[in-house]
C-alpha cells in the first residue's frame, strides 16, 4: 500500500506557499493527486477527460523552473479541474454532449489563460449536465458522477464533476459555471464552497454559452481561502467579452478576516424558508443564522412576493437563449458528423441534431424556440424579461436596507439517482433559491451550513453587485465558527 503524501489534504493557498519555498514539492503533489484519482475516480467519475500524468508532470516541471527563477504566480503548481463547458486549447472540450464529443478547441478561454498565467495547471475536464442543462449531472451524455458523501446520491449539477473532483481531493480547486445554480447546488451537495460572481465580473470568453445573460464562471474550493484565491485570479475586465465589467482587479484574500468588516445586516426571505423546505435543511439553516447572530450581526426577515415568478421567468429566458446559442451545432464545421453525400442541408442538420443532442437539451431547444416564435414572444420572453426587471428592482430596494440575503442553497438534501429525473418540475425546483441571483446578476456564494445524517447542506449568501469581498468575509467567519472546511466525504475517506 502506498502511503499518500501529506500534501494531499492541504489547501491550495497553503500549497502555493509551500511550493514557493520548495518548488520540488510540486512533483510529489502532482503524483499524489493522481494516486487519489486512481483510487476514487472509478467510484465517483468526475472527469470526462483527464490529462495524462506525464504531460501534467511536464507542466509542473516548467512551473518549478519558473518558481526557481523568482516567478510569483498566485496558483503556481496547483492542479485545477475545469468544467467541460470551458474551452481549453488542444484539450478536448465536450460540454458532456455527443455533438461535441471530438471537439478540440484551437483557443483558451480567458479564465484558462489567466490560470495558466499564474502557474496553475489544468488537470482535466469535468463531467456536467449536457450543455449545463440540469441540476444533478445526470444529463451527461457519457456517464453519471456520484456524490462522494453517498454514492447513491447525485452530486448536484450542472457543475457536478468539478464539485466532486474538489470534494474528493482529485484536484485542489476547480472552475464551474453557474446559469441557474450550477456552481452553488453541487457545492452545497458535496460540502464545498462555490461562488457565482456578479454578472460581468468574470469573463465569459471561452465559456460555451447556454443562457448567455444569466451565466458566469466561478471558483469551487474546499475552503473559503482557496475560493478567494481562485476568484482573485479569474475576476477582472476582459476586452473579448462585451458584457465584462470595467472593474479593477481585486485581491479577495484581503477579505479573509475573522471578524465582520462591517456591521452586516442579514435578511432572510420569508418565501424561501416557508413552503417546500426539508426540515433537515431548515435546521441547518437556523444553526447558521445563529452563528452570525453570535457575531453580533442583525438578522431580519423580509418578504419578496414576486420571487415565486423567478423560476418560470428563469426557465423561459434560459431556454430562449439556449435555443439560439445551440443553433450553431450542425455538424458542418466541427463536432458530431454524418455523411452529407447526396443530401440536403436540412436533412444533414436534422440528423446531426437529432442524434447529437440529448433529451433534456432537445426539450429546452424546442421550448426556447417556441417562446421566441412570432406571436409568442411578447407573451413569454418579453414578460419574463419584465419579471426579471421587477425582481432586480426589488433586490435593489432591499439592498438599501440590508447588506446580504441568506437562503438555504437548495430546499432539499441531494436526491438519490433517478429520484429527481422522474419529475421534471420537482427537478427544476432544486434551483428555486439559486436562480434569483442569475436573473438579477447578483453575486451569490454557497458554503457548507451543516452535515446532517452524513450529507452536507448548503447555505447561500446573496449580496449587492460586486460585493464578493463581503460575501467572502462572511463565509470566512462562518467557516471559522462552524469548522466546516476541508471536509472529507465518507465514501472517499479511506483513500485520501
Amino acid at each position: 500500500m502506498i502511503i499518500l503524501s501529506k500534501l494531499i489534504r492541504k489547501g491550495a493557498t497553503e500549497l502555493v506557499e509551500l511550493f514557493k519555498s520548495d518548488p520540488r514539492l510540486i512533483e510529489e503533489y502532482i503524483v499524489s493527486v493522481y494516486e487519489v484519482i486512481d483510487r476514487v475516480e472509478d467510484l465517483v467519475r468526475s472527469y470526462i477527460t483527464l490529462r495524462p500524468l506525464n504531460e501534467v508532470l511536464a507542466d509542473g516541471a516548467k512551473v518549478r523552473e519558473t518558481l526557481t527563477n523568482g516567478f510569483k504566480g498566485r496558483l503556481a503548481g496547483l492542479l485545477v479541474a475545469v468544467k467541460d463547458v470551458i474551452v481549453t486549447k488542444n484539450l478536448r472540450t465536450t460540454c458532456a454532449s455527443k455533438i461535441l464529443y471530438d471537439f478540440i478547441p484551437p483557443y483558451n478561454a480567458t479564465v484558462i489563460e489567466r490560470i495558466i498565467g499564474e502557474g496553475g495547471i489544468v488537470v482535466g475536464k469535468t463531467n456536467m449536465d449536457e450543455f449545463a442543462m440540469g441540476s444533478t449531472t445526470e444529463n451527461s451524455a457519457f456517464f453519471k458522477t456520484r456524490n462522494p458523501w453517498d454514492l447513491d446520491r447525485v452530486p448536484g449539477g450542472s457543475s457536478g464533476g468539478s464539485a466532486v473532483a474538489v470534494a474528493a481531493y482529485e484536484a485542489s480547486i476547480a472552475l464551474g459555471s453557474d446559469t441557474g445554480g450550477s456552481i452553488r447546488v453541487p457545492a452545497a451537495y458535496t460540502g464545498i464552497v462555490g461562488i457565482k460572481p456578479t454578472y460581468g465580473l468574470v469573463s465569459r470568453y471561452g465559456l460555451i454559452s447556454y443562457g448567455t445573460s444569466l451565466e458566469q464562471i466561478g471558483p469551487m474550493a474546499r475552503n473559503v481561502s482557496d475560493l478567494a484565491l481562485l476568484l482573485s485570479v479569474i475576476a477582472g475586465y476582459d476586452p473579448h467579452d462585451s458584457t465584462s465589467l470595467k472593474v479593477r482587479d481585486l485581491n479577495y484574500m484581503e477579505f479573509l478576516k475573522p471578524t465582520p468588516m462591517k456591521k452586516y445586516r442579514i435578511a432572510i426571505i420569508r418565501e424561501c424558508v416557508s413552503e417546500g423546505v426539508d426540515n433537515t435543511v431548515l435546521t441547518a439553516f437556523n444553526r447558521s443564522l445563529r452563528r452570525f447572530e453570535e457575531e453580533g450581526l442583525e438578522v431580519l426577515e423580509v418578504s419578496i412576493p414576486i420571487i415565486k415568478y423567478a423560476l418560470p421567468a428563469y426557465y423561459i429566458i434560459a431556454m430562449a437563449e439556449a435555443s439560439s446559442n445551440l443553433a450553431r451545432y450542425d455538424g458542418i464545421r466541427y463536432g458530431y458528423h454524418v455523411s452529407v453525400e447526396g443530401r440536403t442541408w436540412d436533412e444533414v442538420y436534422t440528423e446531426v441534431r437529432s442524434e447529437g443532442f440529448g433529451l433534456e437539451v432537445k426539450k429546452r431547444i424546442l421550448l426556447g424556440t417556441f417562446v421566441l416564435s412570432a406571436g409568442y414572444y411578447d407573451q413569454y420572453y418579453l414578460k419574463a424579461s419584465k419579471i426579471r426587471k421587477l425582481l432586480y428592482d426589488e433586490f435593489m430596494k432591499l439592498f438599501k436596507e440590508v447588506d446580504v440575503v441568506v437562503t438555504p442553497t437548495t430546499p432539499t438534501t441531494p436526491p438519490r439517482f433517478g429520484e429527481a429525473l422522474t419529475d421534471p418540475l420537482k427537478l427544476y425546483l432544486l434551483d428555486t433559491y439559486t436562480v434569483v441571483a442569475n436573473l438579477t446578476g447578483l453575486p451569490a456564494i454557497s458554503i457548507p451550513s451543516d452535515i446532517v445524517n452524513d450529507v452536507p447542506v448548503g447555505l447561500q449568501l446573496i449580496g449587492p453587485r460586486l460585493s464578493e469581498g463581503y460575501l467572502i468575509n462572511l463565509a470566512y467567519i462562518h467557516e471559522l465558527k462552524s469548522g466546516l472546511k476541508d471536509l472529507v466525504p465518507t465514501a472517499v475517506s479511506g483513500y485520501v
Partner: protein, 486 residues
C-alpha cells in the same frame, strides 16, 4: 409597361470596405483573394465559447450613412439575433438589427433624392441595419442550381455590412437604377465603400404589379443588373397576368449570365426569424455628442457637389449630375480642371466621350482614369484649343487611348491625326469635291445649309483631319466665286 402599376422596393447590402477589421473580431476586412478559410478566427467561425465585440468604427460609418440619408438615429445601439439555418452562417443566426419589441435599427425614416426624367424624386429609406456578412458558398462545378457539391469559405464571414432598405417608392427599373447609382455615389463620397470590389454592393429587389404578388429577386450585384432584372420581371409578370396566370409570391434568383430570374423558393408565409436582442452585446448609448461630432466631419456629399459644379464651373445640370454619379469620375473631372482649366470642354469630354467609352468597353472608371490620365486628357484639350487636332479627331482618339493604353501624342503622330489647316492643301481637296459633286454644289448655291454636305465630303477625304471651320469658310468662299457674286 405602365409605370403606375409597379411598386419596387430595394434592399441594398453594402460592405463597409474602408474598415480595417471585421464587425465583431479583429480579422482583417480585406478578405478578397486569400486562400479559403484563412481569414478566420474563433469569433467569425462561431466556435463554441467565442464572443463578439463590436468594431466601433463600423458604428461611426453607419452613423455617417444615416446622417447622409437624413435618417432618424436611434439613441441606443441594439443588436438582434436573426435565426435561420444556412451553412454560410456559422452560428446559424446572424447578428443584425431589427425594428420590434426590445430591438431597434440604428437609423430609420430617411430619404434619397434621385433624378427622374429631368425632375427630382424623393425615395424614402425605411431603415438602416448594421449586420455581419455570412461566409461564401462556392459552387465548384456550376451554379447554385447545377453544382454537384458545395464548399464554404468563411473568409467573408463577419465582414461589416449595412443593410439599407427603401420604401416601395420606386416605379420603374430606371428609377431603381437611379436610386442605386445615387446611393452608391453617396457611399463613395463618404469614403466608406469601394463599390468596384466584387460583392461589395449587393441588391435584393422586391417588385409587385397591380393584381400580382410581391416577388423578391435576390443576388443582384450592380445597378445595371438591377434595371435588367426588374425589366425581365415586369415582362414576365405582366405576361402572366395577361394570360390570367397567377403570379406567385416567391423568391427568385437573378442569373447574371443568362440574364433571367429563376424561382428559388415559394414564400407561403413570412419566415419566422425568432428575433431577440443579442445578450452577448448589451445595448450601448449613442450620444448626441457623437452624432454631432460625426455630422461636423461629414465630407461634401453628391448633392452639394453637383450644386458646386454648376456654380463654380458653369456646368449644365446634366453634366454635373452625371459626373457626380460616380465619385472617381467627379474627382477625375476636378483634377483635369485643376490641371488645365476649360471646365466646360472637359466636362463634355468626360461625360460624352470618356464615360461613354468606359461603359462600352466595360472597364472600371478607376482603371480608365489611370490610362487617360488628367495629364493626357489635358494634352488633348491643348491640341484642340491650338487647332492641332479638331474635336472630331479628339473623339476618335479617346477610345484608342483606352483600348491600346498608348500616349496621346504617340497616337496623334502615328495615326497622322494632325489637323489640316493649310489653305493650299485644303483648296486642292475642295476643288476635287466640287468637281465630283455638281448637284450638291448647285443645291448649296441656292440653300446655304447644303454647304454642310460638301464640308462632310472634305472631311471624308481627309479622314476627319480637315479643320472644319476653315473648310467651311473656304467652301463658302469658293461657292461665292462660282456664283460670280462679289
Amino acid at each position: 409597361m405602365s409605370n403606375l402599376d409597379i411598386k419596387i422596393g430595394l434592399e441594398v447590402h453594402t460592405q463597409i470596405t474602408s474598415l480595417k477589421t471585421k464587425l465583431f473580431c479583429s480579422c482583417p476586412s480585406d478578405y478578397r483573394g486569400k486562400p479559403p478559410n484563412t481569414n478566420v478566427c474563433p469569433v467569425c467561425l462561431g466556435l463554441p465559447g467565442a464572443l463578439p465585440v463590436v468594431n466601433i468604427e463600423a458604428i461611426r460609418a453607419a452613423l455617417m450613412v444615416a446622417l447622409a440619408l437624413k435618417c432618424e438615429i436611434s439613441d441606443v445601439l441594439v443588436f438582434t439575433r436573426k435565426h435561420y439555418f444556412y451553412p454560410d452562417l456559422p452560428k446559424n443566426y446572424q447578428i443584425s438589427q431589427y425594428d420590434g419589441p426590445g430591438s431597434i435599427p440604428i437609423a430609420k425614416n430617411g430619404y434619397i433624392v434621385i433624378g427622374v426624367d429631368g425632375g427630382l424624386k424623393k425615395v424614402r429609406i425605411r431603415r438602416i441595419n448594421i449586420e455581419e456578412d455570412p461566409g461564401k458558398i462556392v459552387y465548384p462545378t456550376g451554379s447554385l442550381l447545377t453544382s454537384k457539391y458545395t464548399l464554404i469559405d468563411y473568409n467573408r464571414s463577419g465582414i461589416a455590412l449595412l443593410e439599407i432598405v427603401s420604401e416601395p417608392d420606386l416605379r420603374s427599373p430606371k428609377e431603381a437604377r437611379a436610386f442605386i447609382d445615387k446611393l452608391r455615389s453617396i457611399l463613395e463620397h463618404l469614403g466608406l465603400v469601394n463599390t468596384e470590389l466584387e460583392g461589395a454592393l449587393r441588391v435584393d429587389a422586391n417588385i409587385s404589379l397591380a393584381g400580382g404578388s410581391r416577388v423578391e429577386i435576390k443576388n443582384i450585384s450592380s445597378a445595371k443588373d438591377v434595371e435588367r432584372a426588374l425589366t425581365y420581371e415586369i415582362i414576365r409578370q405582366s405576361k402572366a397576368l395577361e394570360t390570367g396566370e397567377k403570379v406567385r409570391r416567391e423568391t427568385r434568383h437573378w442569373d447574371a449570365i443568362r440574364k433571367v430570374t429563376v424561382p428559388l423558393r415559394v414564400k407561403e408565409f413570412e419566415e419566422d426569424y425568432r428575433y431577440f436582442p443579442d445578450p452577448d452585446l448589451p445595448p450601448v448609448k449613442i450620444s448626441l455628442k457623437l452624432i454631432e461630432e460625426i455630422y461636423q466631419k461629414l465630407p461634401e456629399l453628391p448633392d452639394q457637389r453637383i450644386e458646386r459644379f454648376i456654380k463654380t464651373y458653369g456646368l449644365s445640370d446634366y453634366l454635373a449630375t452625371v459626373l457626380v454619379s460616380e465619385k472617381v469620375l467627379a474627382d477625375y473631372f476636378e483634377e483635369c480642371v485643376k490641371y488645365c482649366g476649360n471646365p466646360e470642354i472637359i466636362g463634355n469630354i468626360v461625360v460624352n466621350d470618356f464615360k461613354r467609352w468606359v461603359d462600352e468597353m466595360d472597364i472600371e472608371v478607376s482603371k480608365a482614369v489611370k490610362i487617360l490620365t488628367p495629364n493626357q486628357l489635358c494634352q488633348l484639350v491643348y491640341m484642340l484649343n491650338n487647332n492641332i487636332i479638331n474635336i472630331k479627331i479628339l473623339k476618335e482618339i479617346i477610345p484608342k487611348v483606352l483600348k491600346y493604353n498608348k500616349d496621346v501624342n504617340t497616337i496623334v503622330y502615328e495615326e497622322n491625326y494632325i489637323d489640316i489647316s493649310n489653305e493650299e492643301v485644303l483648296m486642292r481637296i475642295i476643288d476635287e469635291v466640287i468637281k465630283e459633286n455638281p448637284k450638291a454644289v448647285k443645291d448649296a448655291l441656292i440653300n446655304p445649309k447644303a454647304v454642310n454636305y460638301l464640308v462632310g465630303q472634305v472631311m471624308k477625304k481627309t479622314r476627319g483631319r480637315a479643320n472644319p471651320e476653315l473648310t467651311n469658310k473656304l467652301i463658302i468662299k469658293k461657292l461665292k466665286e462660282l456664283s460670280g457674286t462679289p
